[in-house]
Symmetry: C2
Subunit: 379 residues, 2 copies
Amino acid sequence: MPTTDDKKTIIDPFGTTIIEDYDRLYEEFGIQPFRPLLSQVPNPSMYMRRNVVFGHRDLQPVLEAMKNHKDFAVMSGIKPTGEFHLGTLMTAQEVIYFQSQGATAFYCIADVEAYEDNRIPFERSQKYAAGNIADLLALGFNPKKGYIYQQSKERRVQDLAIIFGRGATLATMKAIYGERHMGYYLSALIQAGDILMPQLKDFDGPKPTVVPVGVDQDPHLRLTRDLASKFRRKYNFILPSSTVHKIMKGLDGSPKMSKRNPTSYFTLHEEPESIANKISNAFTGGKPTVAEQRKLGGNPDICPVYELDMYQFVEDDRKVIRVYQDCKSGKLLCGEHKNQTIETVLKFIKNHQRERRKFVDKARKILQESVMQAHCSNL
Amino acid sequence: MPTTDDKKTIIDPFGTTIIEDYDRLYEEFGIQPFRPLLSQVPNPSMYMRRNVVFGHRDLQPVLEAMKNHKDFAVMSGIKPTGEFHLGTLMTAQEVIYFQSQGATAFYCIADVEAYEDNRIPFERSQKYAAGNIADLLALGFNPKKGYIYQQSKERRVQDLAIIFGRGATLATMKAIYGERHMGYYLSALIQAGDILMPQLKDFDGPKPTVVPVGVDQDPHLRLTRDLASKFRRKYNFILPSSTVHKIMKGLDGSPKMSKRNPTSYFTLHEEPESIANKISNAFTGGKPTVAEQRKLGGNPDICPVYELDMYQFVEDDRKVIRVYQDCKSGKLLCGEHKNQTIETVLKFIKNHQRERRKFVDKARKILQESVMQAHCSNL
């Protein structure tokens, strides 16, 4: 098992095991490193402090708005293809963070994308959507300072997609997304509509907007910034900004969590025993024998169990640093660490599952209002 | 000046000068010849009798519905890029013809297409739209047995475009339309929505639908029939049919009337003097001298002035045949024929301009209702 220690010595508990890939993103795609901005953020989020948010595009206007208590927006969403998992949890937490810092928060149920990209019929995504909204509310999203909507019902978004169509050449689409069917390209234009809708007159006009994305979602930002600049004269758009976060590894040591691989991830609604079981059987950065580990220490930089603590479940930075150091020094063995993590994760999960029940009716109501808005419903 | 007589002897007053191109359409693209169906049409239109409607796709289900007084639809529209001209007049007349034969008539103000293809802003096409609708009503369209709508406001059409996106590969789009920008492809999907909307539950479900098109619009039918067949299971679509009509030559002898070339065409709202002037200066199939023409006869098969009579303005078939024969025999000279045609055309135009004034308010009202339907109006 090759470790990145061979290539680059990582002594930062908030570093990353594949930092060389992120360097490529800075150079090739123009994502800027987040670290230099950290000191300017009034109340940095956990992800920011820990370099999980490792990059950004053009975040300065958003930071200015945060510092000066000016109008700004945060926008993200979920493809309603299943239950909340750790990836959707991350963007939801970021949306809620920026909302707590004064942003008007937009959260999109991306059912058009689920249809075009994942072949999920609209009737089916409708079922997941209510659950997803309940999760979002249970995590702390304030619907009074935000707007939750379904992509298929929000005509302003589709109107923007039609407007943007003329600004997107086939060459651009192929360069960003490769050869895809028309529906996929169309959903990309609709996503550009999602990202820029907060700047329409209906929502008090142009404003800095931050879109927290996983690094795999960055192409949408590139397209949207290109379109925002092409249609700036008509709408006075401020080019949207993004924060870019790292993607968690699969619990089984695979490069990312994936639905195709159920032992690589868990959802927020899985049975606690099942979650405990997956963490218990997870890949780690440990050594083959206890003796070796005591002597040489473990490698948290490649360990998905450490990532659970660091990305998401341990709130106290000092505790995370201690785990990192104790693993490195050989003091903390994998079994013990797994038990600690299972305890922390299950505490969060059980609490969340309990909280969520309170929001199911409210979530259904929000979804109904969204449907009511629609002129009709062929989708 | 080469004439098609060199290639093919035309003795049919309702033949065409470029019939070999139409033959290619039959063979390459699968458009079927209309002539063999003529005897089955209960009350054939002027265009049908005169082979102006020279082709069709799959018209049989529509003919059956006409004969048996079953539910069927006719669908067409106009890009609101200017005033009614002879091309838009033709499709409007065909829509009105099928409506008179029992069809529910759908007429689309294709403002999305005008935007994506012709860069006409929505505010501008809105202005033309009211005038276009007044023309349609003055020509005899019955709004009580039909539905006039704006593409940008009709959400059912856009919903269908989203559904169809997944069925349209990039290869298909490129094969049918060539390399175009995304907006153009999107408007093609929206047009497929226009053509299939009459079959939605809101309009009493699946039914034969005929789309009268100029031969240059046939690609849309090919795409739509492909999509209708892909989504047949979900919607029970009956594949839409078409009638295909010839395109009139430019008055100046150019292959088709074109806005870029103002002497090649006239609109229904031009000053009568200007129209008279254009016909007076038109290219003809006449011989260089009167003596030659008396001896050898003229060539109506290549004559745009003859086309004005035959395609549009002379209602009596026998009169058209007489003009054809008298030209061929040398009896009718171009100057005399032009004067006759000017008289006929101006009579139609003056009457139409007078009639149209009565429908301006009604047209505005129809447009307003269409806008009211829209949930919002970013377009």
